[in-house]
Symmetry: C2
Subunit: 237 residues, 2 copies
Amino acid sequence: MLGLTNIIIRSSFMKTRNKIIQASIELFNEQGERNVSTNHIAAHLAISPGNLYYHFRNKEDIILSIYEEYARSLLLDTLPKVSSDVKPLDSLVLYMDSVFQTTMKFRFFYRNLPVLLDKSPVLREKYVEVQQSISERVSQLLLSLRSADFIDFADDELADIVSILRLVNTFWVSFHQTQTIINEENDSVFYQGVLKILVILRPYTKAHAISELNQASNVYQQRFQEVVYSTTGQLNR
Amino acid sequence: MLGLTNIIIRSSFMKTRNKIIQASIELFNEQGERNVSTNHIAAHLAISPGNLYYHFRNKEDIILSIYEEYARSLLLDTLPKVSSDVKPLDSLVLYMDSVFQTTMKFRFFYRNLPVLLDKSPVLREKYVEVQQSISERVSQLLLSLRSADFIDFADDELADIVSILRLVNTFWVSFHQTQTIINEENDSVFYQGVLKILVILRPYTKAHAISELNQASNVYQQRFQEVVYSTTGQLNR
């Protein structure tokens, strides 16, 4: 059994560890992972580099821990709500919405994903594993949309459609960042991502279901407009 | 008028400059841009670092010059062949094919595109300019496919379809690299990219044109198989 002193020490250990992770996410997103060293992170938290090394061996170790947190939130928080209360389109849209939200939250990670995975075989292994389970979920959601007579596709098209949706999910934020001189990063970016998913689904949608698809598009179009309006004071599209 | 000596000096200057560019592309692709310093490049070419600095101020300057070469080849070599001799689908496929080929040739660049653009505002400006002209071309090609009664889409869908095709074009190689534990980089990757473009076009394709789309798919499916067979000795899909 742990004594009170042990519990306090453990809790303080986890608190520092967690602070390092949160500060790293913030600094990596703002300044780019490449420009942030473990010394920067320690200085930002006003702790000694030695204290940081007590929790993490190096920057790679921090990135791996961030990815573990990310993967957990991606696999648990974004569990698609498949139930008789939720329409199949809403299940898919909500799932895509939460995947985009997590890619925004950890956007430094996607900005140079292939490079980070090359540097760490352990990270690559975890990443590939998580991707496979996301593929599985997206497939299930598409199949349930087809069962609900909402969309139509041939069986041998499924894997390709899943792969295109996941590519857009993974790289939309990066793509968006590379298309303009001025780089604004706010929620309007991920709302646009969800809208692109709906664009991909549109030509597979049955005629009688188009109005439901349009409703979902309108919701995200409006959210997008609201963010743009609140940040620039101007309506845009 | 330049004398012979001047011409020889200039030609030797360009030769070294060009060697540095070619070696950098090769090393960046193989080892990752992040892991290759100007000293590595000089050592690889058995020239002094001073000689390299005579041609390029720093690594960023090399990357900028590589991008200029890349942009030139992207804008000139990949000019879509629009003529009465070439079918509209072939024009689009050949264009996409050549864009994928150039992304393979300069793949280090796409592996951490947002990071590289953040580091260099000059590079970002050129990149955004080139992207706009690619968008313009892809739009024209889609419109000519629609005029030829091959595909159908509403006017307000055009910009979104172009954006999705370009996203796939830009990040397909990176996406592919992040999906498996073992990273094989050969032409099969870009053939699969072209196949994904055809998958995106399929649901917009008119019924009478599906067989032509299938023919194009079969050509790339076969090229893909040939590369896989020649590298692994096994048939795959």
